[in-house]
Symmetry: C2
Subunit: 344 residues, 2 copies
Amino acid sequence: MRISLDAMGGDHAPRTTVEGAVETVLETQDIEVVLVGDTDRIRAELKGKRYPEERLSILHASEQVEMEDDISTAIRRKRDSSIRRGIELVKNGEADAFVSAGHSGVVMALSLLMLGKSEGVHRPAIATTMPTLTTPFVLLDAGANVDSDPENLLQFALMGRAFSKRILGIEEPRVALLSIGEEDTKGNELTKEAFKLIKNTGINFIGNIEGKDIFTGQADVIVCDGFVGNIVLKVSEGLADTIIKMLKREIANIATGKLAYMLMKPALRNFKRKTDYSEYGGAPLLGINGTCLISHGRSSSKAIRNALKLANKFAKQRFYQEIVAELARYRDVLSQPSEQPEPV
Amino acid sequence: MRISLDAMGGDHAPRTTVEGAVETVLETQDIEVVLVGDTDRIRAELKGKRYPEERLSILHASEQVEMEDDISTAIRRKRDSSIRRGIELVKNGEADAFVSAGHSGVVMALSLLMLGKSEGVHRPAIATTMPTLTTPFVLLDAGANVDSDPENLLQFALMGRAFSKRILGIEEPRVALLSIGEEDTKGNELTKEAFKLIKNTGINFIGNIEGKDIFTGQADVIVCDGFVGNIVLKVSEGLADTIIKMLKREIANIATGKLAYMLMKPALRNFKRKTDYSEYGGAPLLGINGTCLISHGRSSSKAIRNALKLANKFAKQRFYQEIVAELARYRDVLSQPSEQPEPV
């Protein structure tokens, strides 16, 4: 598969993006990467590196979207941005997928604008993979939308389930709805309505899950609206950072701290590896006509590498077309009157 | 002040509640506690303990609400529950405040039902205090309501600010709105509208705060609707538990782990103390006609002690009346047409 990579996107781009791309083409046989961005800066990063040249090319883009840029201004004014040019390749069939660690709002908006929503999809969703005590889970929507209706949440459940099943290889994903109580009747207007719709599909729906349980590994897919999902994602990131900082500070404050820290360093490394977002590479934008992955702004070359591999998996399966089939399947079920009793 | 304590509420009640009450009357001079619950069980816990008897009494209640109880059933059927009897004391003027570590949904519903909303308050809110890298902040609503409108959020801002100022002693609390972007225009329909209303009050409103920043100590009061607030609270609890568990597991897995763990134990203790919810005692239900504090189900005797002291502070100040005055002050401002330009 041929993947276009926003070479200018991310806090440490183009160094990390170029490194990630080079490592990817060295490690794999079936991935071709197009580095999209400032040719001179990309060439400078490539200098001295050896790699199979037939699988690594550059597409020049004279502009780059900054993290502070306003979405609509960036879209209107920066007509030659690396994000736009990268998505264009997918649109024109010259690439099979697009990956960016740049401005996620602009990537989302441009993907939607240029590639369009898939047939039957009301709203696309960002599906983020998060670690737990045991197996990771997929949280969606992690912020593609701000306001959702119950049917949006139903579609997120179906799209997230398909992702978990086809791409992550979970045989029968346990789908849960994020709410404020486990009972069927707990939640706000939105989740109570969505609960009934999802229950009605007959998928492996384990019901409501509370915030305190999301990291225990009880669910493979956790559904919520994009506002809540984005807050959960960011609160988790912020809290994990804070806890580690506080612990380090407390350890530094005691006499035996230095030695303890030295002795536990391998454990900290293991912990970091297991909770590292870069293991998951990136979050797919589900429900658009093409494959598009959003990576963390802090992406390392390893995160880029994993994102390119994940994009390859998505593209190979033409996953975005599977989603259309999946939704169509359940649309039929849902359009018939429910034979199941309403949840009590 | 005389405080009625739900002696039967909490995972380890009545042991922890009785211990907490005894410690409180021993440590303070101005707090009187009424232990509400099963007299025999309370007496058994009191056996052998010495305390000033004139400041510790028992009020018998023959029933107790279980954590699994359905709210409306518990309210209708358990007419002699310790929660109902405890709140009744406040209603009848026989106690100045009520504290419970029991079923928070039932405490909330009964407080509202029996004491009523304060004048001018649209909806009461639970205000939870949470630790950060520096100073703690107040999050509200942490789950009293499931669906809110912009004016509810405005009132939460004003009530939370009053709590932070009058009870926690923050001179000019920095109030923030939890959203998915820092810019004024980011958020969902609810927060965008609430943003304008809060901005218009002229309080020290620092604007939107993102999930990743809530634990950095940038804000003293963070406002959100009860669904989001409850999820943030529970996700934070769950994630903190998970991180500590994972770290311990990784440390146990390495050869030098045992020694490292021993050496860092004082640091872990300090960390635990600084992030311990029991330091904050309980979360007040703001906006009802009386003082009512909800403590964590896992409350230790220390948490109960701190909750009783916090309740004493609230009751002494007749804080619930201050809230009425505070809201009235801002209702006048808000009812006049805005002289400030709309936020861009």
